[in-house]
Amino acid sequence: MMFDFDVIIKNLPYLLSGVKFTIALACLVIILGTFLGIILGLSKLSKNRLIRYPASFIVEITRDTPIIMQMFFIFFGLPALGIRLKTFPSAALAMSLFAAGNTAEIVRGAIDSLPTGQFDAAKSLGMNYFQMMIHVIIPQALRRMLPPAMNLFTTLIKDTSLAAIIGAFELTRAAQEIIERTFRSLEIYLVVAAIYFIICYPLSYYTRKVEKQRVTGF
Protein backbone atom coordinates (compact mmCIF):
# COMPACT_ATOMS: atom_id res chain seq x y z
CA MET A 1 0.00 0.00 0.00
CA MET A 2 2.18 2.79 -1.28
CA PHE A 3 1.17 6.40 -0.90
CA ASP A 4 -0.22 7.38 -4.28
CA PHE A 5 0.40 10.99 -5.30
CA ASP A 6 -0.94 10.27 -8.72
CA VAL A 7 -4.47 9.79 -7.40
CA ILE A 8 -4.33 13.21 -5.74
CA ILE A 9 -3.07 14.99 -8.85
CA LYS A 10 -5.59 13.30 -11.12
CA ASN A 11 -8.57 14.03 -8.90
CA LEU A 12 -7.66 17.43 -7.50
CA PRO A 13 -9.64 19.38 -10.14
CA TYR A 14 -12.74 17.40 -9.23
CA LEU A 15 -12.20 18.01 -5.52
CA LEU A 16 -11.77 21.71 -6.15
CA SER A 17 -15.05 21.83 -8.07
CA GLY A 18 -16.63 20.62 -4.83
CA VAL A 19 -14.84 23.33 -2.85
CA LYS A 20 -16.70 25.98 -4.85
CA PHE A 21 -20.00 24.86 -3.35
CA THR A 22 -18.47 24.65 0.14
CA ILE A 23 -17.12 28.21 -0.03
CA ALA A 24 -20.22 29.69 -1.71
CA LEU A 25 -22.49 28.12 0.88
CA ALA A 26 -20.26 29.16 3.79
CA CYS A 27 -20.05 32.80 2.63
CA LEU A 28 -23.78 33.08 2.05
CA VAL A 29 -24.60 31.49 5.39
CA ILE A 30 -22.16 33.69 7.32
CA ILE A 31 -23.50 36.91 5.73
CA LEU A 32 -27.20 36.02 5.97
CA GLY A 33 -26.81 34.44 9.39
CA THR A 34 -25.02 37.46 10.85
CA PHE A 35 -27.54 39.93 9.45
CA LEU A 36 -30.56 37.93 10.64
CA GLY A 37 -28.81 37.11 13.91
CA ILE A 38 -28.26 40.76 14.82
CA ILE A 39 -31.93 41.54 14.16
CA LEU A 40 -33.04 38.52 16.19
CA GLY A 41 -30.61 39.28 19.01
CA LEU A 42 -31.80 42.87 19.34
CA SER A 43 -35.43 41.68 19.15
CA LYS A 44 -34.76 39.35 22.06
CA LEU A 45 -33.64 42.34 24.12
CA SER A 46 -36.74 44.32 23.18
CA LYS A 47 -39.11 45.49 25.91
CA ASN A 48 -42.05 44.71 23.63
CA ARG A 49 -43.37 41.18 24.16
CA LEU A 50 -44.79 40.97 20.64
CA ILE A 51 -41.25 41.32 19.32
CA ARG A 52 -39.40 39.45 22.08
CA TYR A 53 -41.44 36.23 22.21
CA PRO A 54 -41.42 35.32 18.48
CA ALA A 55 -37.70 36.13 18.31
CA SER A 56 -36.97 33.93 21.32
CA PHE A 57 -39.05 31.16 19.79
CA ILE A 58 -37.10 31.21 16.51
CA VAL A 59 -33.77 31.34 18.34
CA GLU A 60 -34.62 28.40 20.59
CA ILE A 61 -35.95 26.23 17.74
CA THR A 62 -32.86 26.78 15.63
CA ARG A 63 -30.43 26.31 18.50
CA ASP A 64 -31.99 23.24 20.07
CA THR A 65 -32.46 21.01 17.02
CA PRO A 66 -29.63 19.47 15.01
CA ILE A 67 -28.76 21.43 11.90
CA ILE A 68 -29.14 18.28 9.82
CA MET A 69 -32.77 17.93 10.96
CA GLN A 70 -33.47 21.51 9.88
CA MET A 71 -32.00 20.72 6.48
CA PHE A 72 -34.14 17.62 6.17
CA PHE A 73 -37.23 19.46 7.20
CA ILE A 74 -36.70 22.18 4.61
CA PHE A 75 -35.65 19.85 1.80
CA PHE A 76 -37.92 16.84 2.30
CA GLY A 77 -40.61 18.19 4.62
CA LEU A 78 -41.68 21.45 3.03
CA PRO A 79 -42.64 19.86 -0.33
CA ALA A 80 -45.53 18.24 1.57
CA LEU A 81 -46.75 21.82 2.16
CA GLY A 82 -46.19 22.68 -1.47
CA ILE A 83 -42.89 24.54 -0.96
CA ARG A 84 -40.17 23.09 -3.18
CA LEU A 85 -36.62 24.30 -2.84
CA LYS A 86 -33.61 22.97 -4.68
CA THR A 87 -30.56 21.64 -2.89
CA PHE A 88 -28.50 24.82 -2.60
CA PRO A 89 -31.32 27.12 -1.42
CA SER A 90 -32.47 24.44 1.05
CA ALA A 91 -29.01 24.05 2.54
CA ALA A 92 -28.46 27.81 2.58
CA LEU A 93 -31.81 28.53 4.26
CA ALA A 94 -31.42 25.81 6.90
CA MET A 95 -27.86 26.77 7.75
CA SER A 96 -28.60 30.51 7.73
CA LEU A 97 -31.39 30.02 10.25
CA PHE A 98 -29.09 27.89 12.39
CA ALA A 99 -26.38 30.55 12.12
CA ALA A 100 -28.90 33.33 12.89
CA GLY A 101 -30.15 31.60 16.04
CA ASN A 102 -26.62 31.15 17.34
CA THR A 103 -25.53 34.65 16.33
CA ALA A 104 -28.57 36.08 18.11
CA GLU A 105 -27.44 34.49 21.37
CA ILE A 106 -23.93 35.87 20.88
CA VAL A 107 -25.33 39.38 20.27
CA ARG A 108 -27.67 39.18 23.25
CA GLY A 109 -24.95 37.82 25.51
CA ALA A 110 -22.48 40.52 24.52
CA ILE A 111 -24.95 43.36 25.08
CA ASP A 112 -26.17 41.89 28.36
CA SER A 113 -22.60 41.68 29.61
CA LEU A 114 -22.05 45.44 29.32
CA PRO A 115 -22.28 47.34 32.63
CA THR A 116 -25.68 49.08 33.08
CA GLY A 117 -23.79 52.33 33.62
CA GLN A 118 -23.16 52.48 29.87
CA PHE A 119 -26.89 52.47 29.12
CA ASP A 120 -27.64 55.01 31.83
CA ALA A 121 -24.83 57.27 30.63
CA ALA A 122 -26.14 57.20 27.05
CA LYS A 123 -29.66 57.99 28.21
CA SER A 124 -28.50 60.85 30.40
CA LEU A 125 -26.90 62.39 27.33
CA GLY A 126 -30.38 62.46 25.82
CA MET A 127 -29.74 59.76 23.24
CA ASN A 128 -32.65 57.79 21.84
CA TYR A 129 -32.53 53.96 21.52
CA PHE A 130 -30.89 53.91 18.10
CA GLN A 131 -28.27 56.53 18.92
CA MET A 132 -27.45 54.68 22.12
CA MET A 133 -27.05 51.38 20.27
CA ILE A 134 -24.99 52.76 17.40
CA HIS A 135 -22.69 55.11 19.29
CA VAL A 136 -22.29 53.47 22.68
CA ILE A 137 -23.46 49.88 23.00
CA ILE A 138 -22.68 48.08 19.72
CA PRO A 139 -19.08 49.31 19.38
CA GLN A 140 -18.31 47.89 22.81
CA ALA A 141 -20.36 44.72 22.36
CA LEU A 142 -18.71 44.01 19.01
CA ARG A 143 -15.37 43.37 20.72
CA ARG A 144 -16.99 40.76 22.91
CA MET A 145 -18.88 39.18 20.03
CA LEU A 146 -15.89 38.58 17.79
CA PRO A 147 -14.32 35.49 19.39
CA PRO A 148 -17.55 33.44 19.75
CA ALA A 149 -18.71 34.61 16.30
CA MET A 150 -15.46 33.44 14.73
CA ASN A 151 -15.86 30.07 16.43
CA LEU A 152 -19.36 29.83 15.01
CA PHE A 153 -18.08 30.67 11.52
CA THR A 154 -15.48 27.87 11.57
CA THR A 155 -18.17 25.46 12.78
CA LEU A 156 -20.44 26.58 9.94
CA ILE A 157 -17.73 26.07 7.33
CA LYS A 158 -17.12 22.52 8.53
CA ASP A 159 -20.86 21.83 8.77
CA THR A 160 -21.40 22.65 5.09
CA SER A 161 -20.37 19.01 4.56
CA LEU A 162 -23.77 18.03 5.99
CA ALA A 163 -25.39 19.40 2.83
CA ALA A 164 -24.11 16.27 1.08
CA ILE A 165 -26.94 14.35 2.76
CA ILE A 166 -29.56 16.25 0.80
CA GLY A 167 -27.63 15.66 -2.39
CA ALA A 168 -25.43 18.74 -2.51
CA PHE A 169 -22.21 18.32 -4.37
CA GLU A 170 -19.57 19.80 -2.07
CA LEU A 171 -16.06 18.95 -0.92
CA THR A 172 -16.85 15.96 1.28
CA ARG A 173 -19.23 14.48 -1.27
CA ALA A 174 -16.70 14.92 -4.07
CA ALA A 175 -14.11 13.15 -1.91
CA GLN A 176 -16.45 10.24 -1.20
CA GLU A 177 -17.19 9.77 -4.90
CA ILE A 178 -13.48 9.64 -5.73
CA ILE A 179 -12.82 7.18 -2.90
CA GLU A 180 -15.60 4.81 -4.01
CA ARG A 181 -14.03 4.78 -7.47
CA THR A 182 -10.34 4.58 -6.54
CA PHE A 183 -10.37 3.10 -3.01
CA ARG A 184 -7.62 5.51 -2.01
CA SER A 185 -9.16 6.90 1.16
CA LEU A 186 -5.95 7.87 2.95
CA GLU A 187 -4.67 10.14 0.17
CA ILE A 188 -8.02 11.76 -0.60
CA TYR A 189 -9.00 12.36 3.02
CA LEU A 190 -5.61 13.93 3.73
CA VAL A 191 -6.12 16.40 0.90
CA VAL A 192 -9.69 17.15 2.03
CA ALA A 193 -8.55 17.74 5.59
CA ALA A 194 -5.84 20.07 4.28
CA ILE A 195 -8.38 22.05 2.24
CA TYR A 196 -10.73 22.55 5.19
CA PHE A 197 -7.72 23.52 7.29
CA ILE A 198 -6.60 26.13 4.75
CA ILE A 199 -10.09 27.67 4.81
CA CYS A 200 -10.59 27.59 8.59
CA TYR A 201 -7.13 28.27 10.00
CA PRO A 202 -6.91 31.98 9.11
CA LEU A 203 -10.20 32.49 10.94
CA SER A 204 -9.01 30.70 14.06
CA TYR A 205 -5.71 32.57 13.97
CA TYR A 206 -7.44 35.92 13.70
CA THR A 207 -9.77 35.00 16.55
CA ARG A 208 -6.87 34.22 18.85
CA LYS A 209 -5.25 37.54 17.96
CA VAL A 210 -8.41 39.43 18.83
CA GLU A 211 -8.79 37.52 22.09
CA LYS A 212 -5.25 38.40 23.13
CA GLN A 213 -5.91 42.10 22.71
CA ARG A 214 -7.18 43.66 25.91
CA VAL A 215 -10.82 44.54 25.64
CA THR A 216 -10.98 48.30 26.06
CA GLY A 217 -13.55 50.86 25.11
CA PHE A 218 -13.28 52.54 21.71
Binding site: N11, I68, F72, F75, P79, A80, G167, E177, E180, R181
Partner: protein
Protein backbone atom coordinates in the same frame (compact mmCIF):
# COMPACT_ATOMS: atom_id res chain seq x y z
CA UNK B 1 -21.75 11.26 10.77
CA UNK B 2 -22.25 8.57 13.36
CA UNK B 3 -24.55 5.65 12.95
CA UNK B 4 -27.07 6.70 15.51
CA UNK B 5 -27.62 10.01 13.76
CA UNK B 6 -28.06 8.15 10.59
CA UNK B 7 -30.73 5.91 12.02
CA UNK B 8 -32.59 8.94 13.29
CA UNK B 9 -32.29 10.51 9.85
CA UNK B 10 -33.49 7.41 8.21
CA UNK B 11 -36.60 7.19 10.36
CA UNK B 12 -37.37 10.84 9.75
CA UNK B 13 -36.91 10.25 6.05
CA UNK B 14 -39.34 7.38 6.10
CA UNK B 15 -41.80 9.52 7.97
CA UNK B 16 -41.44 12.34 5.46
CA UNK B 17 -41.85 9.84 2.68
CA UNK B 18 -45.16 8.89 4.21
CA UNK B 19 -46.17 12.53 4.60
CA UNK B 20 -45.40 13.19 0.98
CA UNK B 21 -47.95 10.56 0.04
CA UNK B 22 -50.48 13.33 0.38
CA UNK B 23 -49.05 15.00 -2.71
CA UNK B 24 -51.09 14.75 -5.83
CA UNK B 25 -49.42 12.81 -8.57
CA UNK B 26 -49.23 14.58 -11.85
CA UNK B 27 -48.43 12.41 -14.82
CA UNK B 28 -44.66 12.26 -14.95
CA UNK B 29 -44.72 11.44 -18.64
CA UNK B 30 -46.35 14.79 -19.51
CA UNK B 31 -43.98 16.61 -17.13
CA UNK B 32 -40.94 15.04 -18.75
CA UNK B 33 -42.17 15.75 -22.27
CA UNK B 34 -43.06 19.35 -21.41
CA UNK B 35 -39.64 19.86 -19.84
CA UNK B 36 -37.84 18.31 -22.78
CA UNK B 37 -35.52 16.25 -20.61
CA UNK B 38 -35.58 13.42 -18.09
CA UNK B 39 -34.36 13.93 -14.52
CA UNK B 40 -32.84 10.67 -13.30
CA UNK B 41 -31.63 9.84 -9.79
CA UNK B 42 -28.39 7.89 -10.15
CA UNK B 43 -25.62 6.89 -7.79
CA UNK B 44 -22.26 8.60 -8.04
CA UNK B 45 -20.34 6.27 -5.76
CA UNK B 46 -21.23 2.76 -6.87
CA UNK B 47 -19.21 1.48 -9.83
CA UNK B 48 -20.01 -0.09 -12.25
CA UNK B 49 -23.67 0.99 -11.91
CA UNK B 50 -23.30 4.67 -11.20
CA UNK B 51 -20.11 6.65 -10.61
CA UNK B 52 -18.32 9.79 -11.81
CA UNK B 53 -15.07 9.84 -13.70
CA UNK B 54 -12.19 12.23 -13.06
CA UNK B 55 -13.84 14.94 -15.14
CA UNK B 56 -17.03 14.64 -13.12
CA UNK B 57 -19.01 12.96 -15.88
CA UNK B 58 -21.67 10.45 -14.81
CA UNK B 59 -20.82 6.95 -15.98
CA UNK B 60 -22.06 3.42 -15.46
CA UNK B 61 -24.67 0.86 -16.41
CA UNK B 62 -27.53 2.78 -14.76
CA UNK B 63 -26.40 5.99 -16.45
CA UNK B 64 -26.47 4.28 -19.84
CA UNK B 65 -29.97 2.94 -19.19
CA UNK B 66 -31.08 6.51 -18.40
CA UNK B 67 -29.60 7.68 -21.70
CA UNK B 68 -31.47 4.91 -23.51
CA UNK B 69 -34.72 6.10 -21.90
CA UNK B 70 -34.01 9.67 -23.03
CA UNK B 71 -33.26 8.48 -26.54
CA UNK B 72 -36.57 6.68 -26.66
CA UNK B 73 -38.46 9.73 -25.37
CA UNK B 74 -36.72 12.55 -27.22
CA UNK B 75 -34.58 10.87 -29.84
CA UNK B 76 -31.38 12.15 -28.21
CA UNK B 77 -29.59 10.44 -25.39
CA UNK B 78 -28.24 13.61 -23.76
CA UNK B 79 -31.76 14.87 -22.95
CA UNK B 80 -31.24 13.72 -19.38
CA UNK B 81 -30.18 15.49 -16.20
CA UNK B 82 -28.49 13.39 -13.52
CA UNK B 83 -29.16 13.95 -9.85
CA UNK B 84 -26.88 12.20 -7.35
CA UNK B 85 -28.78 10.01 -4.91
CA UNK B 86 -27.71 7.53 -2.24
CA UNK B 87 -29.33 4.33 -0.98
CA UNK B 88 -30.56 6.28 2.02
CA UNK B 89 -32.24 9.21 0.24
CA UNK B 90 -33.25 7.94 -3.23
CA UNK B 91 -36.86 7.10 -2.34
CA UNK B 92 -37.41 10.46 -0.66
CA UNK B 93 -36.01 12.22 -3.74
CA UNK B 94 -38.58 10.40 -5.86
CA UNK B 95 -41.62 10.84 -3.62
CA UNK B 96 -40.94 14.56 -3.17
CA UNK B 97 -40.82 15.02 -6.97
CA UNK B 98 -37.15 15.96 -7.13
CA UNK B 99 -36.50 13.29 -9.74
CA UNK B 100 -38.64 11.46 -12.33
CA UNK B 101 -37.11 8.02 -11.89
CA UNK B 102 -34.68 6.10 -9.69
CA UNK B 103 -31.88 4.35 -11.57
CA UNK B 104 -29.69 3.49 -8.63
CA UNK B 105 -28.91 -0.24 -8.53
CA UNK B 106 -32.07 -0.69 -6.47
CA UNK B 107 -33.21 -4.16 -5.53
CA UNK B 108 -36.95 -4.79 -5.78
CA UNK B 109 -38.23 -5.48 -2.27
CA UNK B 110 -41.74 -5.93 -0.90
CA UNK B 111 -41.15 -3.20 1.64
CA UNK B 112 -40.19 -0.61 -0.95
CA UNK B 113 -43.10 -1.68 -3.16
CA UNK B 114 -45.44 -0.19 -0.56
CA UNK B 115 -43.99 3.26 -1.25
CA UNK B 116 -43.02 3.26 -4.93
CA UNK B 117 -43.73 1.29 -8.12
CA UNK B 118 -41.10 -0.74 -9.93
CA UNK B 119 -40.41 -1.33 -13.59
CA UNK B 120 -39.83 -4.84 -14.88
CA UNK B 121 -36.44 -6.15 -13.65
CA UNK B 122 -33.49 -4.77 -15.60
CA UNK B 123 -30.64 -6.56 -13.84
CA UNK B 124 -30.27 -9.77 -11.82
CA UNK B 125 -28.00 -9.51 -8.84
CA UNK B 126 -26.96 -12.01 -6.18
CA UNK B 127 -24.73 -11.81 -3.14
CA UNK B 128 -21.20 -13.04 -2.61
CA UNK B 129 -18.63 -12.99 0.18
CA UNK B 130 -15.23 -11.35 0.03
CA UNK B 131 -12.57 -12.90 2.30
CA UNK B 132 -8.80 -13.07 2.69
CA UNK B 133 -6.95 -15.68 0.61
CA UNK B 134 -6.16 -17.71 3.75
CA UNK B 135 -9.76 -17.75 4.98
CA UNK B 136 -11.63 -21.00 5.72
CA UNK B 137 -14.97 -19.37 4.86
CA UNK B 138 -16.43 -21.10 1.81
CA UNK B 139 -20.20 -20.68 1.96
CA UNK B 140 -22.47 -18.24 3.73
CA UNK B 141 -23.26 -20.77 6.49
CA UNK B 142 -19.61 -20.45 7.57
CA UNK B 143 -20.23 -16.84 8.60
CA UNK B 144 -21.99 -18.00 11.80
CA UNK B 145 -20.48 -16.33 14.84
CA UNK B 146 -17.96 -14.36 12.72
CA UNK B 147 -17.50 -10.63 12.34
CA UNK B 148 -18.80 -9.51 8.94
CA UNK B 149 -18.66 -6.05 7.44
CA UNK B 150 -21.67 -4.81 5.46
CA UNK B 151 -22.69 -1.51 3.92
CA UNK B 152 -25.63 0.28 5.42
CA UNK B 153 -28.86 0.19 3.47
CA UNK B 154 -27.54 -2.58 1.20
CA UNK B 155 -29.37 -5.84 0.63
CA UNK B 156 -26.09 -7.57 1.58
CA UNK B 157 -26.66 -6.37 5.11
CA UNK B 158 -30.30 -7.49 5.22
CA UNK B 159 -29.58 -10.89 3.65
CA UNK B 160 -26.71 -11.62 6.05
CA UNK B 161 -29.00 -10.82 8.97
CA UNK B 162 -31.68 -13.16 7.67
CA UNK B 163 -29.50 -16.10 6.61
CA UNK B 164 -26.90 -16.01 9.38
CA UNK B 165 -28.46 -14.36 12.45
CA UNK B 166 -25.45 -15.28 14.59
CA UNK B 167 -23.00 -13.39 12.39
CA UNK B 168 -21.85 -10.18 14.02
CA UNK B 169 -22.57 -7.51 11.39
CA UNK B 170 -20.49 -4.36 11.49
CA UNK B 171 -22.14 -1.77 9.27
CA UNK B 172 -20.34 0.98 7.41
CA UNK B 173 -21.58 3.96 5.42
CA UNK B 174 -19.61 3.20 2.27
CA UNK B 175 -18.28 0.20 0.44
CA UNK B 176 -14.74 1.59 0.66
CA UNK B 177 -15.02 1.49 4.46
CA UNK B 178 -16.48 -2.04 4.55
CA UNK B 179 -13.59 -3.15 2.35
CA UNK B 180 -10.98 -1.39 4.48
CA UNK B 181 -12.31 -3.15 7.58
CA UNK B 182 -11.77 -6.50 5.85
CA UNK B 183 -8.29 -5.56 4.61
CA UNK B 184 -7.31 -4.47 8.13
CA UNK B 185 -8.70 -7.80 9.39
CA UNK B 186 -11.08 -6.06 11.74
CA UNK B 187 -13.71 -8.39 10.20
CA UNK B 188 -13.36 -11.80 8.56
CA UNK B 189 -15.70 -11.25 5.61
CA UNK B 190 -17.55 -8.60 3.62
CA UNK B 191 -20.97 -9.42 2.13
CA UNK B 192 -22.27 -7.33 -0.78
CA UNK B 193 -23.67 -7.50 -4.31
CA UNK B 194 -21.81 -9.88 -6.61
CA UNK B 195 -20.86 -7.28 -9.22
CA UNK B 196 -19.18 -5.00 -6.72
CA UNK B 197 -17.24 -7.76 -4.97
CA UNK B 198 -15.96 -9.21 -8.24
CA UNK B 199 -14.63 -5.76 -9.07
CA UNK B 200 -13.05 -5.33 -5.64
CA UNK B 201 -11.39 -8.74 -5.80
CA UNK B 202 -9.71 -7.77 -9.08
CA UNK B 203 -8.23 -4.68 -7.43
CA UNK B 204 -7.12 -6.61 -4.35
CA UNK B 205 -5.32 -9.85 -5.24
CA UNK B 206 -4.79 -10.70 -1.53
CA UNK B 207 -8.55 -11.31 -1.30
CA UNK B 208 -10.77 -14.01 -2.80
CA UNK B 209 -14.47 -14.57 -3.46
CA UNK B 210 -16.48 -17.14 -1.49
CA UNK B 211 -20.14 -18.12 -1.40
CA UNK B 212 -20.56 -19.45 -4.98
CA UNK B 213 -22.95 -19.39 -6.70
CA UNK B 214 -24.32 -15.93 -5.80
CA UNK B 215 -26.90 -16.50 -3.07
CA UNK B 216 -30.27 -14.84 -2.52
CA UNK B 217 -30.60 -13.56 -6.10
CA UNK B 218 -32.67 -10.41 -6.38
CA UNK B 219 -33.63 -8.37 -9.42
CA UNK B 220 -32.98 -4.65 -9.69
CA UNK B 221 -35.79 -2.41 -10.91
CA UNK B 222 -36.27 1.23 -11.85
CA UNK B 223 -38.38 3.17 -9.36
CA UNK B 224 -41.26 5.49 -10.25
CA UNK B 225 -43.86 7.27 -8.13
CA UNK B 226 -46.70 5.09 -6.94
CA UNK B 227 -49.81 5.01 -9.09
CA UNK B 228 -48.23 6.77 -12.07
CA UNK B 229 -49.24 4.03 -14.49
CA UNK B 230 -48.75 5.90 -17.74
CA UNK B 231 -45.13 6.72 -16.90
CA UNK B 232 -44.44 3.19 -15.64
CA UNK B 233 -45.85 1.67 -18.86
CA UNK B 234 -43.69 3.96 -20.96
CA UNK B 235 -40.56 2.96 -18.99
CA UNK B 236 -41.44 -0.74 -19.19
CA UNK B 237 -42.04 -0.48 -22.93
CA UNK B 238 -38.57 0.98 -23.41
CA UNK B 239 -36.93 -1.74 -21.31
CA UNK B 240 -38.82 -4.47 -23.19
CA UNK B 241 -37.76 -2.97 -26.49
CA UNK B 242 -34.14 -2.82 -25.32
CA UNK B 243 -34.22 -6.48 -24.37
CA UNK B 244 -35.74 -7.49 -27.70
CA UNK B 245 -33.10 -5.65 -29.67
CA UNK B 246 -29.38 -5.97 -29.02
CA UNK B 247 -29.10 -2.73 -27.11
CA UNK B 248 -29.65 -4.22 -23.62
CA UNK B 249 -27.14 -7.03 -24.19
CA UNK B 250 -24.63 -4.53 -25.57
CA UNK B 251 -24.89 -2.43 -22.43
CA UNK B 252 -24.66 -5.50 -20.22
CA UNK B 253 -21.55 -6.71 -22.01
CA UNK B 254 -19.99 -3.26 -21.86
CA UNK B 255 -20.19 -3.07 -18.07
CA UNK B 256 -20.27 -6.69 -16.90
CA UNK B 257 -18.87 -8.69 -19.84
CA UNK B 258 -15.64 -9.67 -18.12
CA UNK B 259 -17.61 -11.33 -15.32
CA UNK B 260 -20.03 -13.09 -17.64
CA UNK B 261 -19.42 -16.53 -16.14
CA UNK B 262 -19.83 -15.39 -12.56
CA UNK B 263 -23.00 -13.33 -12.80
CA UNK B 264 -26.59 -14.47 -12.88
CA UNK B 265 -28.62 -14.11 -16.02
CA UNK B 266 -31.70 -11.94 -16.19
CA UNK B 267 -34.59 -14.10 -17.29
Amino acid sequence: MRMKNFLVLFSILSLLTLISFGEGIAGTLQDVKARGKLIAGVKTDFPPFGFVDEKGVNKGFDVDVAKALAKELFGKENAVEFVAVTSGNRIAFLTTNKIDIILASMTITEERKKVIDYSIPYFMSGHLILVHKDSKIGKYQDLAGKKVSTTQGSTGDIVTGELVPTAERIKFQHNSESLQALKDRRVEAFVQDDVLLLDLQKRNPELKIAGWPPFRPAPYGLGVRKGDKEWLDSVDATLTKMKKTDSYQKLWDKWFGENKKALLELK
